[in-house]
């Protein structure tokens, strides 16, 4: 009797197609909606366990303070500390965000590893929501970090002199660039076997890029052989762009270079990540 009750219902291809259509897993609207839901879930986890969020924000802020204290008199002898703070802050926030990409890569690895991803794959939601959600919540995380460092920088003399548009650009440009960098971390995380691998692969690249940039010292401070590398380093270009945005000077050329870099990284590593993610199970 039971077996009769459980007998297959009449399912012709049309009914199945209608059911799938009713779930509406695809489509732009659905995808965006699901990404926002997953991103909000990720952010709630961040807010309820804020140790890593707070530490990464405080760490870059403390680097700003400490380097202002120790290098201001070396780089700009005889001048006050606030001039160097104005010079250093854009770079200090870029550096903080770049270190954060390691954390973001590890978070994504944990998403894939702790069953969250399998759960998402089994649910009637857009396929892209695991990657997109993590990317969006990481963007929020980075924005909080920039805001913290700007507020802290205000105490030691950092000021926006370029109006509202410049300030908005100042906040968004490093976040966009860092998110495109974070995609490299995502790609590594999809293939990694442990969380340590993710940070071991990502960490060593960050320091050379930050040291060999016009971050701590102006270009004249570098040895002659290093100067061509330093001026072409994306981190330098980004720092220069943010400096111009903060002080109200024309920044369009550097901003466009950074946006093109971000776009290239997004296209390359975004595609690689999505393809690797599709093959993962």
């Amino acid at each position: 009797m039971m077996t009769q009750k459980l007998a297959q219902p009449e399912l012709d291809p049309d009914t199945i197609a209608a059911m799938v259509a009713a779930r509406r897993e695809g489509g732009l609207q659905r995808t965006l909606h699901d990404i926002v839901v997953v991103a909000w879930r990720n952010m709630l986890i961040d807010f309820r366990n804020p140790a890593s969020l707070v530490v990464s924000a405080l760490f870059s802020t403390s680097l700003l303070f400490v380097f202002t204290a120790s290098f201001a008199q070396v780089v700009t002898p005889g001048e006050g500390f606030s001039g160097y703070a104005q010079f250093l802050l854009p770079f200090a926030s870029v550096q903080g965000l770049m270190f954060n990409t390691v954390d973001i890569g590890v978070f994504f690895y944990n998403d894939l590893e702790n069953g969250m991803d399998i759960r998402l794959r089994a649910m009637p939601i857009a396929r892209l929501s695991a990657i997109g959600g993590r990317l969006l919540s990481s963007g929020a995380r980075l924005l909080i970090q920039v805001a913290t460092i700007v507020l802290a920088g205000h105490l030691i003399g950092f000021r926006f002199q370029g109006g509202l548009l410049g300030a908005i650009g100042f906040f968004l440009l490093p976040v966009v660039f860092t998110l495109s960098l974070a995609l490299i971390g995502f790609y590594i995380a999809v293939g990694a076997k442990s969380a340590e691998t993710v940070s071991a692969v990502l960490n060593p690249w960050i320091l050379p890029f930050t040291f060999l940039s016009v971050g701590y010292v102006p270009i004249e401070g570098f040895p002659d052989w290093a100067q061509p590398i330093v001026t072409r380093n994306p981190v330098s270009i980004l720092s220069e762009a943010m400096r111009s945005l903060a002080s109200g000077e024309p920044a369009l050329q550097n901003v466009i270079i950074i946006l093109l870099c971000s776009l290239a990284l997004c296209l390359l590593f975004g595609t690689l990540t999505v393809r690797a993610y599709q093959r993962r199970i």
Binding site: A69, F71, V74, V75, P204, F211, P223, A226
Partner: protein, 289 residues
């Protein structure tokens, strides 16, 4: 029926009880959980286990060899020209603090492994086993001491071969350098073990462990001479332990005659901190379970 059976068993147990307890005494004596020799053997065993764990972790090559060298190269490229205008030979100035930083990161790594051992139950397992109590802590310190000294060796060799760093002191100065390095590492690891015992969760330790880095390492005269700091900060910069130790290391490298008072001052700081952290860690460890 069952009652009489139980009685019989009870009398039987009573009869052999003295024998059992004598046997147990003998067995405990045989296990020899205490004593110096046992402590050393067990510590060595745990050290070996920790070293195997270190060896199998891919991040370790990065942490030991690449990180200190990248920091050395980075600060050197950034600071060399500017420091030269202040009359500082920056590579000679920089190597000691980069060395201390490498030791500091060894301490940081030890906290992470300690927290993982607490979480995974390794600590409970060690307590349940017939080994010396001290072996778990001593094994951790010794394994990370090996890591720290290896890191120091690689750093000094690279600084010598590529960057032109020269040790100008005598053999006694070199021994003094080594002694300070070893004690600094021990102090770092002990201090960080307090953090690991108090926090217990590896992810939390990982997030928090970087916090002492900025005030201790960066707010020191290791990277930039004291005179470059704001006036009100200078007394703190000058007398904090990392500054004093890097001062001592630099004077040992330079081989001057004034290194003895600096060495003594640094030793006083480090041993004092080691005792404080050691007592604290011991008490915290006792309350761990």
């Amino acid at each position: 029926m069952s009652n009489s059976k139980e009685n019989m068993r009870a009398t039987k147990v009573e009869a052999i009880a003295p024998e059992i307890s004598a046997l147990a005494q003998k067995m405990i004596a045989k296990r020899q959980e205490t004593g110096w020799r046992r402590a050393i053997v067990d510590s060595w065993l745990i050290t070996g286990r920790n070293l195997i764990r270190l060896k199998r972790n891919p991040i370790i090559i990065v942490a030991i060899a690449i990180f200190p060298i990248v920091f050395l190269a980075g600060f050197w490229i950034v600071g060399q020209k500017l420091m030269a205008t202040q009359g500082v030979n920056y590579i000679q100035y920089l190597v000691p603090i980069i060395n201390l930083q490498a030791l500091f990161f060894a301490g940081l790594g030890s906290a992470l492994m300690f927290a993982q051992d607490i979480e995974s139950g390794m600590m409970d397992r060690c307590r349940a086993m017939p080994i010396a109590r001290i072996a778990t802590i001593a094994g951790l310190v010794m394994a990370y001491m090996v890591r720290a000294l290896l890191s120091t060796l690689i750093l000094l060799l690279v600084a010598f071969a590529i960057f032109g760093f020269r040790f100008q002191g005598s053999v006694i100065d070199a021994l003094g350098y080594l002694l300070l390095i070893v004690i600094f590492t021990a102090t770092c690891i002990t201090g960080y073990s307090v953090l690991a015992i108090k926090l217990r969760r590896p992810d939390l330790v990982n997030a928090v462990a970087i916090i002492p880095y900025t005030p201790l390492l960066l707010l020191s005269n290791g990277f930039s001479p004291t005179e470059n700091f704001p006036t009100w900060l200078q007394p703190i910069i000058r007398y904090q332990p990392v500054s004093v130790t890097s001062d001592a290391l630099r004077s040992l490298v330079a081989g001057g005659s004034n290194s003895l008072p600096l060495f003594g001052f640094s030793l006083l700081w480090l041993v004092g901190l080691l005792v404080v952290f050691g007592v604290w860690a011991k008490n915290a460890y006792k309350q761990l379970v």
